[in-house]
């Protein structure tokens, strides 16, 4: 009699725990880069909890497949990453070790942002002698607000698939985000008028989408080949070229070694600016884009 009572209470407690756990259960989103975590927050609101595997100071090409990341993927309901080979050095290991069926390639929980938009720089010849090129095209799409909007739409659809009970909320969040994003795009279009057509030198070829959107001319890259660090012979050749044709700005990512960019800047007097490739902690996509545009405007005068 007594044991029965205890068993009953025990089962009851378990049911309560499961029930409360269900009630507060959020969609766990594992974002490979902070911009996708931020976008997921915009679209998921309070229905999701997001985690970013990397931060603005880290190069997403080279990330250690740390145990903590395996633990995070293990619990994820949705993976939001760039794709197109950007995370190829670490994400496949994490996925294989996680044992999480929901987020494996081809599943609903596997969302690659670059799958939703057209990519630039698709190589016509695939050969490693050309450096670390991405077969699918250039993966650094996050700096194009127009592509960001397309990704937002597709990501919202995916959230609605995963969590159909709240599809109305996701649709509302998307509409809300799109309105604000479109307004921001209008504003940015005004702001970037006087930087259009500027000539820039970039460190790594990770700015093509920003270039396309801002109509900037890329004159050269500091890396002799994608992923290969700038060497002295390449830099001195570059210096000669810059002296002949005018360049307005040198751009490198805030996670990159500034040595090469500052060297060229000192030799030529052209400003070199570190631009955050992604959102900072506690920064919205809007604030980040404002910041990026402001940095280019301020430094290319």
């Amino acid at each position: 009699m007594n044991t029965k009572k205890i068993l009953f209470i025990f089962i009851f407690l378990i049911l309560i725990v499961i029930h409360t756990a269900e009630a507060v259960a959020k969609i766990n989103i594992f974002a490979c880069e902070p911009e996708w975590a931020e976008l997921s927050k915009e679209l998921g609101g309070s229905l999701v909890s997001t985690f970013s595997a990397t931060n603005v100071g880290q190069d997403p090409h080279y990330i250690q497949a740390r145990p903590s990341l395996i633990a995070k993927i293990r619990k994820a309901d949705l993976l939001v990453c760039t794709g197109a080979g950007l995370e190829t050095g670490w994400l496949p290991v994490l996925l294989r070790k996680s044992g999480n069926s929901k987020v494996q390639p081809g599943q609903k929980g596997f969302f690659m942002a670059t799958d939703t938009v057209k990519l630039l720089d698709k190589p016509t010849v695939l050969d490693r002698s050309m450096g670390d090129i991405h077969a699918a095209g250039n993966p650094h799409i996050q700096l194009d607000p127009r592509r960001m909007r397309i990704v937002a739409k597709k990501l919202s659809q995916r959230l609605q698939q995963i969590d159909p009970e709240h599809s109305k909320e996701y649709a509302e969040n998307l509409a809300n985000f799109k309105t604000r994003w479109d307004q921001a795009i209008k504003r940015w279009k005004e702001e970037i008028r006087d930087i259009q057509g500027k000539n820039i030198i970039v460190q790594h070829n990770s700015w093509v989408y920003l270039q396309q959107w801002l109509k900037l001319n890329k004159v050269a890259e500091l890396e002799p080949k994608p992923g290969v660090p700038p060497g002295s012979s390449h830099l001195s050749a570059l210096l000669k070229r810059v002296k002949k044709s005018p360049v307005d700005l040198i751009i490198y990512s805030s996670y990159q070694d500034p040595k090469a960019a500052t060297w060229l800047s000192e030799k030529t007097g052209i400003k070199a600016v570190a631009i955050p490739s992604t959102v900072n902690e506690n920064e919205s996509l809007f604030q980040w884009m404002d910041h990026v545009i402001q940095l280019i405007k301020d430094n290319s005068k």
Binding site: G57, A65, S68, K75, A135, A136
Partner: protein, 474 residues
């Protein structure tokens, strides 16, 4: 003239009088009639005005309506235009789904080829190499002096279907009998069985030790740590099944077990069921985004080691029958600072092996046999610092010790299992140049005190990787 004037005046006066009278009479008539006429007209006018007003109001309303409609239409058009613009932009920038599938298929299966070769130089004679206190497995020798190619590995891997992932690695190796192709690894593993649970089956490297799981070409030094050479013949793998589970916790927690056939060193023989088994556990996490760690524990056991053969210095074979048990702990710590290209990796592994059984020289029938109880211990510690994308350097220290008991110490001595208190040691230093992620040139120096004559060793090694971009484990 005057008369005429008078006349005209007269007539004009008359006219005036007449008109006056007429006017007066008209006035009287008017005075009587006009009030009636005015009232009617005003009413009429009022009505007309009212009608006009209504007309205008109607017209204004109509106009307003028209304007509103026009405005709405304009707005609609504008919205349509925006939508069209958006659609056009999406058509321009969004991908079509067909392209996607093609791109994804293009790397199925992933094929990669590792080319490895080296130049080795030794001060001592290779034939004198031994590790006092340990009998070595087949592959535990040193790499040949001079130029040689190491193992060239061909790997093919792919998701087999929604449930399984498979990988096979064929190694081409050069030995005394010529070139041989060997199935180094061939396994299938579940990718989506049950949350956190993974089952691996086939031939694979055991997860019991940290370095053991990794292929030799991803090691940070040109040779295996002494303890791996002594206990496993460089690396332990067998045919079997592995079951592992990752807990749904913030901290990385993994537990697993492996069941093996028990036919490969340091186990031996054919067994009907499980010849050897392991259990392992790992815990890992981040201190912050720049510092991470992992601790692993492992246990290996073979209860029935049957005729394990190893060559000894007297050009005879040592045979062991008995049980064998290994316990191990490993620690890995990585420091990867943000916004920099340098990083540091610290690594430590400790193993101890207990064996209880009998040994014989060449044959148990020969009479040269002894009971054997051995306690063998070993560890290594290494630090590898990557200075930038293209340069890495590292230091490693190896240490072994053993304690042996047996009934016939002459047999133990001949078998090389008696160390007389000698503790093998080795100091290594390496420098790597990495032109890209796919190539590596390594220079390594060892001061090897495996046995009493200390040896100075130099390796120049290249490792090239072709094909699929391999992902690196922690």
């Amino acid at each position: 003239m005057y008369f005429f004037k008078q006349q005209t005046i007269k007539t004009s006066e008359e006219i005036m009088k007449k008109t006056l009278s007429l006017l007066i009479s008209a006035g009287i008539i008017c005075a009587a009639v006009t009030p009636v006429m005015a009232d009617e007209q005003i009413e009429l006018l009022k009505q007309q005005i009212e009608q006009l007003k209504q007309d205008y109001e109607k017209r204004i309303q109509a106009l307003e309506k028209g304007l509103l409609a026009a405005q709405q239409a304009a707005k609609k058009n504008e919205q349509i235009l925006v939508n069209v613009q958006e659609q056009a932009e999406e058509a321009e920038l969004a991908s079509d789904d067909n392209q996607q599938t093609i791109a994804k298929n293009s790397f199925n299966p992933e094929i990669s080829l590792i080319l490895d070769g080296r130049y080795a130089s030794y001060q001592n004679n290779l034939d004198n190499y031994q590790l006092p206190g340990f009998s070595l497995g087949d592959e535990a020798g040193l790499v040949p002096e001079g130029f040689s190619i190491g193992e060239s590995e061909l790997s093919i891997s792919a998701n087999i279907d929604q449930l399984f992932y498979g990988k096979a690695t064929i190694a081409f190796a050069e030995d005394d009998e010529g070139t041989s192709a060997e199935v180094e690894e061939a396994y299938g593993q579940t990718s989506a069985l049950f949350d956190g649970l993974t089952i691996k089956m086939g031939r694979f490297f055991s997860s019991m030790g940290y370095l053991n799981e990794q292929h030799a070409h991803v090691w940070d030094f040109a040779d295996a740590p002494l303890v791996y050479r002594a206990l496993f013949g460089d690396q332990y793998r067998d045919d079997g099944v592995q079951i592992s589970y990752i807990a749904p916790t913030e901290l990385f927690m993994q537990v697993g077990t492996e069941l093996f056939s028990g036919s490969s060193f340091p186990a031996s023989g054919t067994h009907n069921g499980v010849g050897s088994w392991t259990a392992f556990a790992r815990i890992g996490g981040d201190i912050n985004s720049e510092n991470s760690w992992q601790v692993g524990l492992g246990h290996w056991k073979a209860s029935n080691v049957d005729d394990r053969k190893s060559e000894n210095l007297n050009n005879s074979t040592t045979i062991y029958n008995g049980d064998s048990e290994i316990n191990t702990i490993n620690l890995v710590y990585k420091w990867t600072p943000n916004a920099r290209t340098d990083n540091l990796k610290l690594q430590f592994e400790y193993f101890e092996r207990d064996e209880d059984g009998d040994i014989a020289l060449d044959d148990f029938l020969s009479g040269n046999s002894s009971s054997y109880h051995g306690e063998q211990k070993g560890w290594y510690a290494q630090a590898v610092y990557q200075m930038n994308k293209q340069w890495r350097t590292g230091l490693r220290y190896d240490h072994l010790s053993s304690h042996t008991k047996g009934s016939n110490y002459l047999v133990l001595d001949d078998a090389g299992l008696e160390s007389y208190g000698y503790k093998p040691e080795r100091y290594s230093a390496m420098l790597e140049w990495l032109p890209s992620e796919f190539s590596r040139i390594r220079l390594q120096y060892n001061n090897d005190q495996s046995y009493k004559d200390s040896d100075n060793q130099l390796f120049l090694q290249y490792t090239f990787s072709m094909g699929a971009h391999g992902a690196h484990s922690y």
